[in-house]
Amino acid sequence: MFGLKADWSLDVHERYFTMDDYAGAEPRWCTGCGDLGILTAVHRVCRDAQVEPENTVAVSGIGCSSRLPHYMKTYGFHGLHGRALPVACGIKSRRPDLDIWVATGDGDCFSIGGGHWIHSLRYNMDLTLLIFDNGIYGLTKKQTSPTTPQGFHTNTHVTGALLPPLNPLTVTLGVSNVSFVAQTVDWNAPLLYEIINAAHQHKGTSFVRIVQRCPMYMEQLNQEMQDDPSRMLLLTHDKGVQVDDAVVRMFENHQEHDPSDMAAARAIAQDDSLIPLGVLYHDPDAQRYDELTNVGLNMPMQERVQGLNAALDKFAI
């Protein structure tokens, strides 16, 4: 009949997820908060990847950033201050099929979570790790964070932060087995989307530092940064993220940077005269602790019993 095979069909997905399908509760961040744009970008990336909400987990710690799981209509884990990464690693270890996002901030990740930050980078489990870096403790009302600019007045350093800020990029790029390191700003939506999307596609721990506005406590600093794209350096390369010419033209400074070149990445990160935006480093082949350790996950019951018996034989007398 009409020469068509009997099983002909249009290739229509049974389920199509819109951005609303990933949107949870109404966000309760301040008006103008950079977190809102990051959330939208995450919803977009989920939509474009058509990841199933029931196979997606958003994990966080404590801070403004860490409210994100409440605003996702996926599995959500709002955990302890500084401790999102171990929980995310635990989930990934046991359920490698789940798509895992980690939302954390400069205080949550770089200060109290510093130890887990370093070790999770080396474990390189498949997580998309977003650092909402506003350079201040927002939720507890304006205390100095590790990335607060030196001299900036806070409630804990009223005459100005005493030390130079921590450079999260040089630290991250110094960790063995790190596999994906990128930086962006929250107020450039196309760039933010492309970088989060690339991070999400990478298999391994994708570290994305998002330099982010806090209109409540850092308004002037953020505004100056936002108004002055000459302080940014856009990294371009075939292996990096691709953005429209219109986006490229927003930035005066460009540099062709091959993300597989660690030495060059470290040099860019070390130079704090400009804020690099783009993918600094990408190694798709770095070893993954989740893959190395979950070899027995799908073992049949008979094999499990044999294995356990063999292990217990050593106690036999």
Partner: protein
């Protein structure tokens, strides 16, 4: 100073500085953050050092180091931070380190309600670290008491070479009251016992178990060492069970034999009363209103308000329970200190709890109704 309008956290900072505190370290956490902020502002002006640490574990570690270097040290946090302090509190116990730990309690467990009140860390303070050795824990009910008890906490820490808890709460720490701190009656400032130069140094020396060993500050004339492991009086590692038990008995005895000295309370016992309201912390303020109400209704009732929760003022509690048939214990937790009263109350005495931890204060009416006191 005269009259001032200050909150409990400011009073805690003032009490600490008055007691000679010259080192503070902390990490932001509501409702204790303003102690960190006040300290960072005020301590350097009075010749001290205040640090914002990268987390709570570092904060208390800084304090132990500063204390062993001879400086009176304090840290302040809330329930989640106390959890992180836990192992270092054990270190301060085994190392006999003077230290004041402020817990501005908030509703828990875990992150709980960060900006809401509770007094849920009572037994937690007592059993906060492995080994379960006695601690000292003081509980203020007013801004003036926050000042006084912080001051006394430093004295106890120095006198007994122990970590001392100040169990404040969100309501006391963040509420302003009119106070005149000059009017607060304080004892003299105490200093830890220190070694004389030239003595053979034993950092944990004692003849009787309750004796407090003299310290030699790091950097002072007498070289010393400090260890987290079981050790003898010289601070040398030991596996000798007899020596280990002797040291454990010492850590306990120095607090247990000084209960009378450590116990702070206020009692308002009425002759012929057969009901007792036993309270502490912010809830004692509702209890005092309830007592007034009962008395104006012609009821006889006694009141005992504890400032020292640990060591448990057993003699004082037993004394207040004499002739009582019912004791009502209101607490912003599910009945933690009532466990102590249960074990102390003679047979036949009814022990009734008025408990909630829904983040709101217990009202006098709730005490009267749930305690069936009218």
């Amino acid at each position: 100073m005269g009259l001032e309008f200050i909150d409990g956290n400011q009073a805690i900072v003032r009490g600490a500085i008055a007691a000679g505190c010259c080192f503070f370290a902390g990490y932001p956490i509501t409702p204790a953050s303003t102690i960190l902020q006040y300290m960072l502002d005020q301590l350097p002006r009075s010749g001290g050092v205040a640090l914002q640490a990268e987390d709570e574990i570092a904060a208390i570690g800084f304090c132990i180091g500063a204390s062993m270097a001879g400086r009176k040290a304090m840290t302040a946090t809330s329930g989640p931070g106390i959890s992180l302090y836990s192992e270092n509190i054990g270190l301060a116990t085994i190392g006999e380190t003077p230290l004041v730990i402020v817990d501005v309690q908030r509703q828990g467990p875990a992150t709980g309600s960060a900006t809401k009140g509770a007094e849920g860390d009572i037994q937690f303070s007592r059993w906060v670290t492995s080994g379960g050795l006695p601690v000292i824990a003081l509980s203020p009910a007013t801004v003036a008491e926050a000042y006084e008890l912080t001051y006394r906490a430093f004295n106890f820490a120095e006198q007994f070479r122990v970590p001392v808890f100040l169990l404040s709460s969100k309501e006391i720490s963040l509420t302003r009251e009119t106070v005149d701190l000059d009017e607060v009656n304080l004892p003299g400032v105490l200093e830890r016992p220190r070694m004389e130069e030239g003595e053979i140094y034993q950092p944990h020396a004692f003849d009787r178990p309750e004796q407090i060993p003299a310290l030699s500050d790091f950097g002072a004339a007498q070289v010393t060492r400090y260890t987290t492991s079981t050790h003898d009086k010289s601070g040398y590692l030991t596996t000798d069970p007899a020596v280990i038990q002797e040291m454990i008995d010492h850590y306990a005895a120095k607090i247990e034999t000084a209960v009378d000295e450590i116990c702070l309370y206020s009692e308002d016992l009425q002759t012929g009363a057969d009901q007792l309201l036993l309270s502490y912390g912010v809830t004692s303020r509702a209890a005092s209103v309830a007592v007034d109400h009962m008395r104006s209704a012609g009821k006889k009732v006694s009141s005992l308000v504890l400032q020292t929760l640990y060591p448990v003022p057993e003699q004082v509690i037993r004394g207040a329970l004499a002739g009582i048939s019912k004791v009502v214990v209101p607490e912003m937790n599910m009945g933690q200190y009532r466990l102590e009263i249960d074990r102390l109350a003679p047979d036949g005495v009814e022990v009734v709890g008025v408990n909630k931890m829904d983040t709101t204060l217990i009202s006098p009416t709730e005490i009267l109704n749930q305690g069936d006191l009218l």
